[in-house]
Symmetry: C2
Subunit: 760 residues, 2 copies
């Protein structure tokens, strides 16, 4: 394609000489032997090598760019391709997120009824379009029919509730069944939150297909189905996964990113910022989330680009306007009442609650996953999902707050009660009368504007029930709102007491129960994910007011401390460990006083380290060594007697080169010598030709000494992204430490099973 | 003190045994030989060693904490001391920033006149206190007397202007003279912006006294004096310096931070976030500034703590309320009109202007500094400041916009004209009449609410003049406002044209000139400092609206690209290079294809590398080697014949240990052997006793091979914070690469003078 197509387009404009340069540029990284420098599935990349490759490529382009105009243009387009890619990721992810929101909204409402004006309207849009709606009862209109009304034909009666209940469960079941079947049939990687896997991928692990187009399609559809079926899940994880899939697919159109695993991971880091940006409508929070939680290698250039992509996505989502209020998310809020210093006590209490809940949730979740893994429960995933969905739907329908989708619930809980609010949560005595009720009521005692009425009490009971089986952010929001209303009533009823003096002033609210809901949500999310800065910034972006940062921060800090005291791992790390992924956590410092010699292979008593010598080995000997061992690379030394290090060669490169030599190089037989040396040793003319492999030899492998403390070794591995490191004593090669060895050692030091680390 | 005081306080509560543990804990890091492990002035620290020291300390405390309650309490207080320190830094910096704002405001007004009600009132407060002020003319009141009124005694007349002019210049001169004298006499480090030095310090350099108490006191006073004298300078640099001084002083009260250079630098990173937080009232922006611009080693723990400190400082500043509007900064704004897509063109133009201006400013500034350094101009700093001040004051007084302080100017430029605004910049025809003018005017053509009036034209001319000699953010703000007003008038006068259709709707503004001012300010600041994310986030925090991020981002991006095309360095980096500080830039990748062998010392032809052998050298030989060379460390090898690496020893540690041995160890003479070995070699009983120095030997020095590409070496130095690295070939020690060698090499590759790197 390349040789044929490009000249025909450009030949009229540019000279032949330019053309050749252009083609050379495009072929820049075509390897001499195909396959060298690539990785196998479920292996870790070598960051140093990938970054070197990219620098070589950049150097080449820069040098060429001085030679001709075409090459200069190519170099400029290459420099801007990163920005273009970010733009595309932002647009695509924003559009997908908007589509998911609209579809999920519509399908959630479909469980309850249908719009006669058009099947494609959800409840809210259906009644907007209707003229017969009053502002007070804007969710009731004749065009919207519940399933019972449609099927039985009357609009009142005792059987209606049962029919609606049944239809609700049927739809939920259908959605959940479809979702689980789709995942199992087409894209097994689409299951789960995705963040643990993405963290591992970003740290350098390769899982082919995890971010492919099938995963994207199925994940998008199943996310809609799962949300609509009422299964409780956070949207941020799946949206991060969706954004990363978009990024990975779009990377294929840019050579720079397609060919380089390290560069691709920079893009994926930005994509995870995009995912959070559209999930919460918080671009800055998204970037900080990516920086704090997900990313492994996050250079400043990526920071700036992530920010750009996150903004593009947020604005794309806004122009799609899925919630009809030109806000990015359903639960955007504006508070007006300031908070009082004493309120920090309930906020800290919410933090403690969030921490406890987070620690409990992580343990329960991991225990369930372990149960599924180790017992026969794991063989019937469809059945499991169906049962869980039926149970959820059965319990959810009777209570108003569990029947709605969790975004709607959170939105209602965060809401600050206005004068015109019809929600039961705003069922204060004075609000039930007229719109100006609060002004009238102040005449009585100057304050009583916010005494709880019967509606509010009902709502509180229902919320308390909902608390029992709704997970994630919503739990925190419910707990917060309950505490908030209690505090409010306390302050109103005892407003003459010293401690509450000054809280309630005529005409204004005493405290904001919605703020408590938000603080509670932040505390629970913090307890589960152990986010800190990004969590506070996300919540700040939701409220837009700097003054509410202090309560959020107090709760997030308490929650993290409490949760950390009960278990150091976040839900993501716990899942990474459960799955045995090779992930070297950057947050936790390695605190043990072991040395490199304690970790390196071979151990004392083991057979000697398998090494190659720089000369003197034959093709057959090397092939036997490869067949006999499973190591992913071999050190090359001067000779077995003088094990002084020359370099390191990767197994995959060696295998490919030997196959290539056997196939393409004339006269290569099993007895051909293999040479890693710079200049050929003298050989008899009758000897078979040598296979020269210095080109695949890494001449600058990383080394440490046997006395190097493991804390420093771990630091080097983390910061430089190594796969392996050789251990030297006084110039002699003694052993090797791989990432897997380090992870096993860390597991051992923490009294866990070192064999739980599965991959390289 | 320790032995005497602590028991007397606590002896009644805790047993003797606990006491001993507590004292042991406090003495934890008292070195056996004092001085070992410390650094000399103008040297670079070894990050790896410092972090190891801290981990050792932490391990010790954790182990002890299992033994007794006191030790457990100590370990908990140790864990929380970081948070306490952050709280104190936030409080102290916030209070200082508030004080500086208030004092500068008062002294700026003092140049024009004095308040009769009380000398300590500034102009605004003076007239607030007065009852005779109307809302329209709130800055005119009889209590506030200009100097001419006070001295001549009449309130009208031709001579008044001249007297006021003279007094203005006198005061400016006095302030500037005081400032420069104070700096010269007491704290020479207090001069300059401070950010280049702080960047260098954070990267591991030691400048004793740069963050000391004298610097803090003098910097605070001179900042007030300089701002009041009208010398144009940005406040963010000095405030970052002030916050870092606070942090450094407060570190002295916490052993953990006092004794460890790496830990102290974590705190300083947080302090620089605090500085920006109080300068712009933007805590999140401050943290990102520290992350993006200033910090070298910024672990996630520091991110979270910086955020906490920045928030505390912002709230402290707010409770001091220096501007009387419960805002953090003078130029907080709220815009209401949305922007149009087409407006991106002027925004990008502002970005180009900002980039050009930034590049020009950096060159001019560096050229001036170089001139001052290389000619006799540098010998008369007082004269220089006096002349500049006189010139500034002379030119500034006649124009209203240059007479006010630059914060006030920026505040006025950012301002969105309300109905009641009395500023000349809001001198639109319809505003000059009544408060409801805009409503009346709309009756005429439905739009004309914002046609420029004569006042606005005057303001525009004055601004255009001011543009000529005001530096920093204000230039951008002026240019932006000018462009904004032009665009506004264009849109109003041609509102029937196709491209402006829909911009102006009745009763609302067409566009927001204040937004243009903000975009322009961001562009210029971006051009000078090359900030990106942090700049946009700071401006976002000033406006509070997510929708204005896109214009800011467009301008910041353009500005950075344009400025980078004209010169890669920001003002900070240019000053670092000018001063020859050893700073390894983390943003710029090393792009050249050189190898470690090209950089290492000794070069080909040079004398051999100075090494020590692990045995066989005498005290005298080592002392002679130390006297003959200036290297800051020596590799230790097995023998001269077999140069296989054993370890590395620092010059300072060696000198101190030898002196200590000569003084305290019995029988040490010049012929005593020096041993770095683990076990003693056999010696004759009559030989002098050996000096055993294995304890000061670093057994795990970092090594690279001669074939290692320099790009990887640079990466290792940056990421691990090394001072030096040894170069090995096939197990033989060949040379050494220090940070200074790398910097010299980088200077050489960029065609600069390698001898401009002055320090180690």
């Amino acid at each position: 394609w390349r040789q044929n197509c490009v000249p025909s387009i450009l030949s009229e404009v540019y000279s032949k000489h330019d053309m050749i340069i252009l083609i050379n540029l495009m072929d820049l990284l075509d390897d001499t032997v195909p396959g060298i420098g690539t990785y196998e599935d479920f292996n870790t990349i070598d960051w140093v090598r990938e970054k070197s490759k990219d620098r070589d490529r950049h150097r080449e382009i820069t040098n060429k760019s001085k030679q001709s105009t075409v090459a200069l243009l190519f170099s400029i387009s290459d420099a801007f391709s990163g920005w273009l890619l970010m733009l595309l990721i932002g647009l695509m992810s924003g559009a997908l997120a908007g589509g998911i929101d609209i579809a999920a909204h519509w399908m959630t409402d479909l469980k309850e009824g249908v719009c006669l004006n058009g099947l494609w309207f959800n409840h809210e849009h259906c009644c907007w379009a209707s003229n017969e709606t009053t502002f007070q009862e804007r969710d009731k209109c004749p065009q919207w029919k519940s399933w019972a009304e449609l099927m039985v034909g009357v609009s009142e009666g005792p059987g209606l509730y049962v029919v609606n209940y049944f239809m609700y469960m049927c739809w939920a079941l259908l959605f959940a069944f479809l979702a689980v079947i789709l995942v199992r049939a087409f894209a097994p990687y689409a299951c789960g939150s995705g963040i643990p896997e993405i963290k591992t991928v970003l740290s350098g692990f390769i899982i082919r297909g995890y971010l492919g187009k099938w995963t994207l399609i199925i994940k998008t559809i199943t996310l809609v189905l799962a949300v609509s079926s009422g299964l409780s899940l956070g949207k941020e994880g799946p949206l991060v996964h969706v954004a990363c899939c978009c990024a990975n697919i779009l990377c294929h159109f840019f050579t720079k990113y397609r060919r380089n695993e390290a560069k691709r991971r920079e893009v994926l880091s930005a994509a995870s910022a995009v995912g959070v940006s559209v999930a919460f409508g918080a671009p800055i929070g998204g970037v900080l989330f990516s920086l704090e939680e997900v990313s492994y290698y996050f250079p400043l250039k990526t920071l700036w680009r992530s920010f750009f992509a996150a903004l593009v996505a947020a604005f794309t989502l806004r122009s799609i306007n899925p919630f009809g209020n030109s806000r990015l998310v359903l639960f955007y809020v504006e508070f007006h009442t300031p908070w009082h210093l004493l309120e920090l006590i309930p906020f800290v209490l919410l933090g403690i609650f969030g921490g406890l809940w987070g620690a409990f949730f992580i343990r329960a979740n991991i225990a369930w996953c372990r149960l599924r893994k180790n017992t026969c429960l794991g063989h019937y995933p469809v059945l499991e999902v169906v049962v869980v969905t039926l149970l959820t739907a059965f319990l959810a329908f009777p209570i108003e707050y569990t029947r709605m989708s969790s975004s709607e619930l959170i939105s209602e809980l965060f809401n600050d009660c206005g004068l015109l609010d019809s929600s039961k949560l705003c069922g204060y005595t004075s609000n039930s009368g007229s719109a100006s009720g609060s002004v009238n009521a102040t005449a009585a005692n100057g304050l009583g504007a916010r005494l709880a009425g019967p509606d509010l009490y009902t709502a509180m009971w229902q919320l308390a029930l909902a608390l029992l089986f709704i997970p994630s952010m919503a739990v925190g929001a419910i707990a917060g709102r309950l505490l908030g209303v209690c505090m409010e009533q306390l302050a109103i009823r005892h407003h003459e007491r010293d401690i509450f003096r000054g809280w309630c002033s005529p005409g204004a609210d005493c405290i904001t129960p919605g703020l408590y809901a938000m603080v509670g949500a932040a505390a629970c999310l913090g307890g589960v994910t152990r986010m800190t800065v990004s969590l506070v910034v996300i919540m700040f972006e939701l409220t837009g007011g700097l003054e509410y940062i202090v309560p959020l921060m107090a709760a997030a800090m308490t929650s993290k401390w409490v949760a950390d005291a009960l278990g150091r791992e976040s839900i993501y790390e716990a899942h990474i460990r459960l799955n045995g992924y090779p992930f070297l956590e950057a947050k936790e410092e390695f605190r043990h006083k072991t040395l490199a010699t304690d970790v390196m292979r071979p151990r004392r008593g083991d057979p000697l380290l398998s090494v190659l010598t720089e000369s003197g080995m034959t093709v057959e000997e090397v092939e036997r060594l490869i067949a006999d061992t499973t190591y992913s690379g071999f050190p090359v030394v001067i000779s077995q007697q003088s094990p002084r290090l020359v370099g390191f060669v990767l197994r995959r490169d060696l295998v490919i080169s030997l196959e290539n030599a056997r196939r393409n190089q004339e006269g290569v037989v099993s007895m051909s010598p293999i040479l890693f040396t710079e200049c050929d040793p003298p050989m008899s003319p009758s000897a078979p030709p040598a296979v020269k492999l210095r080109s695949i030899l890494d001449l600058s492998p990383f080394t440490v000494t046997v006395h190097t403390p493991m804390e420093i070794v771990v630091d080097i591995f983390r910061k430089l992204g190594l796969r392996q490191c050789l251990v030297i004593q006084n110039g002699r090669l003694l052993g090797i430490i791989t990432k897997k060895d380090i992870l096993k050692h860390m597991a051992q030091m923490a009294n866990r099973d070192p064999d739980s680390i599965l991959f390289n």
